[in-house]
């Protein structure tokens, strides 16, 4: 017994070291894909307040650039309105956030809320963006985020009362469903963690007619992103011989270096769609289990 105490006393520093290492590594590795880390809610609120202060200073220096972007985007929105007005009852309106329902009435499927970026990195392997809107202002997990010029930025992954964390497209675990504008072929946009100016689009079928300079948009089969928002432009592509699929290198449409104003998009059908998806999976599993 005495020896145990002597041992503890003698190696006290070493034991504290081991203990703190285990705690750190536990924090690190329990911080999984869904990012429910310990104390993150409180920490988010505190760092959010400091970031908001800092941002008031930083905003000042990029006002001009931001104004230009807002003006350009407003312009494109006006165009969209006029076009809709002229062809009122065609399917063009699906592109404007409205889907025709069975009864012939239109209903709103997507709802946009503006927000300001208050912290943003591009240098890490796992980049996050913090915005100044949280659950009190209607933000929920899994909402899509686009920049002020209408290009995809990321997905909300964590929300506190007044701030939200967005997993940027520049995050090695980010996957977003995308499609080629020209042919509509689907694929997945990921990031290889190397160059923040380029994204990777995988699993594009060989039959797709890909050329450098093609536009890549958010796909119509995504649960979070509405279809038709710009993700990037093809800058290089190569055929993966093992899978027989194209792997495209995309120049990002959003400029992640100076993000400021963003829109958070809520899919009003998200819960229903996800629930249907899960129920279907469960049903199929049940069928497999019961012998016929």
């Amino acid at each position: 017994m005495r020896n145990i105490f002597l041992f503890l006393r003698r190696y006290r520093a070493f034991l504290v070291f081991i203990f703190l290492q285990v705690v750190s590594l536990w924090f690190l590795f329990s911080y999984n894909r869904f990012h429910r880390a310990k104390f993150l809610g409180i920490a988010n609120e505190v760092t959010g307040r400091i970031n908001a202060q800092y941002n008031t200073v930083e905003d000042f220096f990029s006002l001009k650039e931001e104004n230009r972007k807002v003006h350009r985007y407003n312009d494109s929105l006006l165009n969209l309105l006029r076009r809709n007005f002229m062809m009122r009852d065609t399917s063009v309106e699906t592109g404007n956030g409205l889907l025709p329902s069975d009864t012939g009435n239109k209903y709103r499927r997507y709802f946009l809320r503006p927000a300001t970026v208050i912290y943003n990195t591009v240098t890490s392997q796992k980049n996050f963006i913090q915005i100044n809107r949280g659950s009190s202002q209607g933000i929920k997990d899994n909402m899509a985020v686009i920049s002020s010029d209408g290009s995809a930025v990321g997905v909300v992954i964590n929300v506190s009362a007044n701030f939200s964390q967005v997993m940027s497209l520049l995050h090695v675990q980010s996957t977003v469903s995308a499609s080629l504008k020209k042919t509509g072929d689907l694929g997945t946009v990921e990031w290889d963690g190397k160059d923040p100016r380029y994204l990777i689009m995988k699993r594009v079928p060989k039959s797709a007619d890909v050329k450098v300079g093609d536009a890549i948009l958010t796909s119509p089969v995504s649960f979070n992103f509405p279809p038709g928002y710009m993700i990037g432009i093809v800058s290089d592509f190569k055929l993966d011989n093992t899978s027989g699929m194209y792997s495209l290198k995309l120049k990002t449409a959003a400029n992640f270096y100076n993000l400021q104003q963003v829109h958070v998009i809520e899919n009003l059908d998200y819960d229903e769609q996800v629930k249907l998806n899960q129920d279907t999976k469960r049903k199929i599993d049940d069928i497999k289990k019961t012998p016929r």
Partner: protein, 177 residues
């Protein structure tokens, strides 16, 4: 100023500089200039080892919550806080009465031992940090380049800081604690 308050002030200042200045510098995709752990290297010689470890842990975790990587920098800081007394022990005379100053600095240790001391801990910190970051993701060559790049830029920053802002050092006295 009270030592305790002074160290809290230093750590807070360096973390704010790290988050709002250095993380915003896009030098190269491999390189983030790290400086936030310098206050740990500046802590007094006489600080208890367990206390040193806790200070390292808290410093790292504070930065982690700004960068959304809970545990990553904390683990690296705890490692350098643990190794620090050994490195000081090797680089300075065994007889502790030789310490005329209270904390490590170029004046207290001479330039060469001080730079070696900073270099060893910087290399350990970045090596461990990048190792943890790339465990889930990455290649070996990228790992080596990233460690070398970040270490070089951190050394440059630390030496610049030491030259531009020499700390006013108090002598260690034998009379009062």
């Amino acid at each position: 100023m009270n030592d305790f308050l002074k160290n809290i002030f230093r750590i807070a200042l360096f973390i704010l500089i790290q988050v709002y200045v250095l993380n915003k510098i896009h030098l190269h995709r491999f390189i983030i200039p790290y400086l936030y752990y310098l206050p740990i290297l500046w802590l007094s010689f006489s600080i208890p080892r367990a206390g040193l470890l806790f200070i390292g842990f808290v410093t790292g975790l504070t930065l982690d919550y700004f960068m959304m990587t809970p545990g990553l920098h904390a683990a690296a800081c705890v490692l350098i806080a643990f190794v620090r007394p050994f490195v000081i022990g090797i680089l300075t005379p065994k007889d502790s009465s030789e310490f005329n100053y209270r904390e490590p600095s170029p004046r207290a240790m001479q330039w060469t031992p001080y730079v070696i001391y900073v270099f060893i801990l910087t290399l350990l910190h970045h090596g461990y940090l990048v190792f943890l970051e790339w465990l889930s993701f990455g290649s070996f060559l990228g790992f080596i380049i990233k460690v070398a790049g970040t270490t070089a830029i951190s050394m440059l920053l630390i030496i610049t800081v030491e030259l531009l802002f020499p700390r006013k050092l108090r002598f260690r006295t034998n009379t009062a604690a």
